[in-house]
């Protein structure tokens, strides 16, 4: 960490010393060239009804990881925020006349659970079972996905349960900040900008609306199945054809067009007495797959997206003001945004903002040196191996490529693309995208202590200020 060496020099007086200093260190070993890493073979099959299946052969353990992803996420909620979640929860309440208990038991006997995960774009049904049960798991999953019972008797309980989860989320500073932040970027009228629904809205949802959402968003042509692990291809393909082959294509997916907007805007949300300020600070950036997106990836790693990043070194290692600062890019269809997030101790929040602005500006003005930038490119290359070294990781990477319609060789060429980002490119994208007049900021914290200090920043001089109670 280039920046923290000074700490060591400064205080020489009292230091920890190892008890008997008999042992001498050997010379530091060289690190040779990185090993080659090849992604596993994959096979993709399309059925006549539009369903796509991808097989990924990986691993030695006798398990198979199955992920069925349907284009039925929150982006299709329309005005009914969270409806995709309610539908996902109701789909676990019985299917094909089988009770949830018997479905759960069946999956437990196969060594797994079936999980339903609702995301912004897709709803995913996944099971990670002992390999010999792969075909049976497919059959059971098809029942859940194709023949949900949507029992009236369970609807109110499910709704109340979802409301309870939401109420708990709203009591945490992180979700409150993220919700406000997304709304500033996309507006509350688009699902990308909708956070959590309010209780009254959710209370008004009906089972008919659940069925309507299901009918409008579930179907074979909106579904991709990923199978990863050690398994019998022929048996799994036969099971999938048998279970999903006669499913109707379903309605065409229709994602409402989204318009991302930058700032400058600063929203301050009061959490009286909070010992930390929960911060989101970001800008719209280039969409995934573009040349600038690769540059942003390296820029992000240097600025805030890795443990050796400048913002982590500064705010955490040098100053001790925060525990887990971080940054990253969030991708949506047609747009992306970069966000720095941190929970910063209240007394240090204002000075931390000064450091954040200073680090951004330094990177914009001066390209990083080869040691730092080359190290980050190496780190991203090594991280790529770890990201692709598990069945779950491979499914995530490959399905992401498919969803954003990236080139088939996106993953195979990724490391080369990262390594061809120049040091100058890094500063150039920082300068192009991290512009004060595009900045969107949310702070959830004790405004009595930090509000005035934040409002006084010259970087916020032209910003619209929104202040509210939590």
């Amino acid at each position: 960490m280039l920046r923290s060496n000074t700490i060591l020099m400064a205080a020489a007086a009292a230091v920890l010393t190892a008890a008997p200093v008999f042992s001498q260190a050997l010379p530091r070993p060289d690190i040779g060239p990185a090993p080659d890493f090849e992604l596993p073979e994959t096979t993709t099959i399309g059925l006549d009804n539009g369903l796509e299946i991808t097989f990924i052969d990986f691993g030695l353990a006798p398990k198979v990881n199955i992920s069925v992803q349907v284009l039925a996420g929150n982006v299709f909620d329309g005005e009914n925020t969270y409806m995709a979640d309610v539908v996902g929860a109701m789909m676990e309440e019985g299917a094909g006349g089988k009770s949830p208990e018997s479905i759960a038991r069946a999956f437990a006997s196969m060594g797994g659970d079936m999980n339903v995960g609702v995301g912004m774009h897709t709803t995913g049904f996944s099971a990670n079972v002992l390999s010999e049960f792969g075909p049976e798991a497919i059959a059971r999953m098809a029942t859940v996905i194709r023949q949900p019972d949507f029992p009236e008797s369970e609807f109110n309980r499910i709704l109340q349960s979802q409301i309870r989860n939401m109420t708990v989320a709203r009591s945490q500073p992180g979700p409150v900040a993220s919700e406000a932040y997304a709304a500033l970027l996309y507006g509350e009228d688009h699902p990308y900008g909708q956070g959590l629904p309010d209780v009254g809205q959710m209370d008004s949802y009906t089972l008919d609306q659940v069925r309507e959402f299901y009918d409008a968003n579930y179907g074979a042509a909106r579904t991709r199945i990923y199978v990863a692990g050690r398994f019998d291809h022929a048996a799994m393909e036969a099971a999938i054809r048998d279970a999903f082959g006669d499913w109707e294509a379903g309605p065409e997916p229709d994602v409402p067009p989204a318009q991302i907007r930058g700032g400058p805007v600063v929203q301050l949300i009061d959490r009286p007495g909070a010992p930390q300020a929960t911060v989101r600070l970001g800008y719209p950036v280039a969409p995934i797959g573009t040349e600038d997106a690769y540059r942003m990836t390296v820029m992000n790693a240097i600025l805030g997206g890795s443990f050796t990043s400048r913002l982590t070194s500064n705010l955490r290692e040098e100053h001790g003001w925060t525990y887990s600062p971080g940054s990253g890019v969030t991708n949506r269809l047609g747009s992306s945004y970069w966000t720095f997030n941190a929970d910063i101790s209240t007394p240090n929040t204002v000075e931390a903002f000064a450091e954040i602005f200073s680090e951004i500006q330094t990177l914009q003005l001066t390209p990083p040196g080869e040691e730092e930038a080359g190290g980050m490119r190496n780190w991203l290359s090594g991280l790529f191996i770890l990201q692709n070294a598990s069945t779950g990781g491979l499914i995530a990477q490959i399905s992401n490529r498919d969803f954003f319609d990236l080139p088939q060789d996106y993953l195979e060429t990724y490391v080369d693309r990262i390594n061809s980002v120049s040091n100058g490119d890094i500063s150039a994208v920082a300068a192009e995208y991290l512009q004060p007049d595009n900045m969107v900021v949310v702070v959830v914290g004790d405004l009595a202590t930090i509000g005035e200090g934040l409002q006084a920043f010259p970087q916020f001089a032209d910003a619209e200020f929104i202040t509210e109670e939590e």
Binding site: A11, I31, A61, S109, S161, T278, G328, A396
Partner: protein
């Protein structure tokens, strides 16, 4: 580094690195020398050596991915920290990232990241660990770096001040500025245990953390961070002889430390049910948790308790989830397990099996506990069926594979390290499934009768207190 102790509501597995970008840690391959597709019988290839200075070394080769995972475990955890210095073991872990003679400042972190690797550390009841996952070409350099950290760390007042601030912020973000912060993984063990070593706030009271001095740091290091109190594990795409050679060359000349101080961490048999309450200004809904003291690790009853854990709370088919969530709708989920700060394998001393839920405020806690009691009493009066037992064991096996089978290979390294440290036998990893296979319905019943006694239980409620009126903090 130092992963946050526990994700917000307590159910999640640990070892989420504190780094903002982390590799997904789901399942992948490990070294199964036995590669037939039978369900049972994970066979991990294990080499075990003890150097002359007492360093225990475990190696396991698996060439499926060209990386190596290095883990150094020290036999010191929450239970060992000195009175008046709660949270010190964890604070000390942070300090071990602050540099060593040949890697001053944060340069060890740079060495690992610039080689394309990741690192982290964590503090638990009975150990503190430091680990790295790197492309195999960086293995020798990482072994060299861990030796430098063990033999020649450098920690000064500024490091102590800065990391004291980081740890304080860690406690704030995970406990104090959160609803339900730490209730079931800090407060419940504090209620259930009698012995201070098991019953103190191991994340640390903020005054204790602020009071830590460099003298404390030196004393703790001298007492516990000796080479003969450490286990080193290397798993991955390695050559056995070469790797052992590097370890011997770098660690072999480190002098062993004095014998460890003996501490009594035993707990008396609990004879009366305990109750506790927490008033939480941030919690919007009440929460209810309960914990029972576990049978001793490794005994037949311990494995039977693992089966009961599966039957009661693990998965959608579990009895408490069926009753509390699906039938009664009191809560959205019931979570729990053995050792909420890890798993059923990586601890060595008194432990709780616990479960908890956030429930609707329209449901009285006594009504909910009556349902819990009915479910648990059923297991204490009647034998479970063979089908129930088989399903529980299938789930246990599958979960065990998931622990062993992660892309970082960290789960595998962890089990090898703790079995070397606690049992002097890392090959125990290949006999875990035998432990499950000896469980019978009779043993499950007998275990439930003794260990799921209401008088072996502590019940903790979290009561929403938005205005601070109930706790008198208004």
């Amino acid at each position: 580094m130092v992963n946050r102790l526990l994700a917000v509501l307590g159910a999640a597995a640990l070892f989420a690195c504190s780094e903002p970008v982390t590799p997904p840690d789901t399942d992948t391959t490990t070294d199964h020398t036995q590669t037939d597709s039978t369900v049972s019988g994970i066979q991990v290839d294990v080499q075990y050596h003890t150097l002359d200075n007492g360093l225990r070394v475990v190696l396991s080769r698996d060439a499926s991915v060209p990386t190596a995972t290095v883990a150094v475990y020290y036999g010191v955890g929450f239970r060992n920290e000195p009175r008046g210095r709660t949270g010190f073991a964890h604070l000390f872990e942070h300090l071990m990232f602050e540099g060593s003679e040949n890697l001053p400042g944060g340069t060890m972190t740079n060495l690992i990241y610039n080689a394309g690797g990741v690192q982290n550390g964590s503090t638990r009841f009975d150990f503190t660990n430091y680990f790295e996952v790197v492309p195999r070409n960086a293995l020798e350099a990482v072994i060299w770096a861990e030796a430098d950290r063990m033999a020649r760390p450098i920690i000064d007042e500024e490091n102590l001040a800065a990391q004291g601030g980081v740890v304080e912020n860690e406690v704030l973000v995970n406990v104090i500025n959160q609803p339900y912060g730490g209730w079931i993984w800090i407060d419940l063990p504090m209620l259930a245990n009698e012995n201070w070593h098991n019953a103190h706030n191991f994340y640390g009271d903020l005054e204790d953390l602020r009071a830590a001095t460099l003298d404390d740091v030196q004393a703790f290091f001298d007492t516990y961070y000796a080479v003969n109190n450490a286990v080193m594990v290397v798993v991955g795409d390695i050559d056995y002889d070469e790797t052992l050679g590097w370890i011997e060359a770098n660690f072999g000349n480190i002098e062993p430390g004095p014998p460890l101080p003996e501490i009594d961490i035993s707990e008396p048999r609990q004879e009366e049910e305990k109750f506790g309450e927490i008033y939480d200004r941030l919690a919007p809904q009440p929460a209810l948790g309960f914990g029972y003291h576990m049978p001793e690790r490794g005994t037949p009853e311990y494995y039977a308790m693992a089966v009961l854990d599966q039957i009661l709370v693990q998965g959608d088919d579990s009895l408490l989830n069926q009753r509390i969530v699906n039938e009664e709708g009191y809560a959205s989920s019931v979570f729990g397990g053995i050792n909420l700060l890890g798993n059923m394998y990586n601890y060595n001393g008194p432990m709780l099996w616990s479960a908890g839920m956030i429930h609707g405020d329209e449901y009285d806690h006594e009504v909910i506990m009556a349902d819990v009691d009915e479910v648990i009493e059923g297991l204490r009066t009647e034998e479970i069926s063979q089908e129930q037992l088989d399903r529980a064991i299938t789930k246990l096996r599958s979960q065990f594979y998931n622990i062993v089978d992660s892309s970082s290979r960290f789960g595998l390294a962890d089990l090898l390290a703790v079995f070397a440290m606690f049992d002097d036998d890392p090959t125990r990893i290949n006999r875990i499934e035998e432990g499950f296979d000896q469980v019978t319905p009779e043993l499950v019943l007998a275990t439930a009768q003794e260990y799921l006694r209401p008088t072996n239980r502590s019940v903790l409620r979290v009561i929403p207190d938005p205005d601070g009126t109930m706790s008198g903090e208004e």
